[in-house]
Symmetry: C2
Amino acid sequence: MNIPHGATIPLSLNTVTVKERWGLADCIEGCARHAIPGISPWRDVLHAMGVQAAARRIRDAGLVVTGLCRGGMFPAADPAGRAAAIEDNLRAIDEAHALNARCLVMVCGGLPPGSKDLPGARAMVREGIEAILPAARAAGVTLALEPLHPMTCADRSVLSTLGQALDLCDRLGLGLGVAVDVYHVWWDPDLEQQMRRAEGRIAAFHACDWLVPTTDLVFDRGMPGDGVIDIAAIRRMAEAAGYNGFTEVELLSRRWWGEEPDHVLAVIKERHAKSS
Amino acid sequence: MNIPHGATIPLSLNTVTVKERWGLADCIEGCARHAIPGISPWRDVLHAMGVQAAARRIRDAGLVVTGLCRGGMFPAADPAGRAAAIEDNLRAIDEAHALNARCLVMVCGGLPPGSKDLPGARAMVREGIEAILPAARAAGVTLALEPLHPMTCADRSVLSTLGQALDLCDRLGLGLGVAVDVYHVWWDPDLEQQMRRAEGRIAAFHACDWLVPTTDLVFDRGMPGDGVIDIAAIRRMAEAAGYNGFTEVELLSRRWWGEEPDHVLAVIKERHAKSS
């Protein structure tokens, strides 16, 4: 493969990366200060600012919203819980539309509390997506199904592989895409084949790194370059599949949450320049 | 599916389950005391007793050796390291033969230190297995390839899925089988299909449970029944694929290592009777 890299890959900041110290206004200003052209807000910081105000400030700052995090979390123990999840997802679609976000990132949800019924939870995910897809299509919001690492299967996402996400895309049709986060897919022996299959359907590309050792199942993601993931190789697969969009850095890390955010952004910029 | 269950599933104790307090002699006596008909030693406790003495005592106690843990760990940074791994695996084959073990469980190894070359590590695994397979065949020892949970990909096993293990079986031929540990495979959206494909090739069936939350990537496995894995459903898949052997309980758990081993064995027996 011989795709040229370099300064051509635009960078986006996922707000969770600095969530302990910065609200959305700080993130918007921080992106401008560090010349980071993309931003991907989580809904908690978005709601804190207000959706319309946020849309205006992000637009005024000239930032692209590479995604809104997150929709999903469909499985629930009872029909009322599942209906509430669908309602919340419809609000998220409206918010993604208001932000002109490239996609709404879907973290689909784990097993309902006390359940061991994995096929049942997967059916709830499929039904949830089916229920909101007409609204997403009407709003022009791409739902980016994000397979999450299998270690999150019980409590965050029964959608575990890119192949499984693409099966859902095939089944449910237009309006769906996938969010490829290298942290969640790097280990997959089927990755190359599924990335080819994802051609034209990659709506987001997320980067962080797998640390050795990893000391926490959720909050120990590594800064790109500090771990073992060949991020550049996976990015090349995405580009070969037609994706030329942003690389969004999304770190859930107690270690980096403890650092001064301007320093975190500087390190992200440096690593991104080095790896891309 | 309507396969009868009950007292018909024989139980085996993997020695790592009580490793903090019991050596191999204690485990052999404990199995006899608790009427557990199978045992699966790790090589550290085996070496501490001596292979010939262990083989004799296990035979005298009337126990079936459901597996020897473990061979594998092939990837290394240099040829000398890879050759040393192969030598060690040849010794493990001799030991499994001496114990009349149903299989040698293969934990294939992660990335060499400092490497991000996952395809390269997988090639080292394949080459390592190819190198030892003639000796395994000659000794009549089945090499049971154990896919490990993707969260172990960096440091323990680049063999992550049952499908990948069966691809290796297909490619390398006779003398290979798979070890199905529910902890490692329960999340896999392709599990049912791959379990069918595994027909006649399941050499071992391991059980423990996935806890919510899981607080450690290695040492927080749950006692069967304490987590979210539908162990009985996966066991039924194994039986539909022709496996009628032992269920081996293998717990790596700081919590259970702190308990009195006779209590641990009693709980295992009780849970096994309930779930099978």
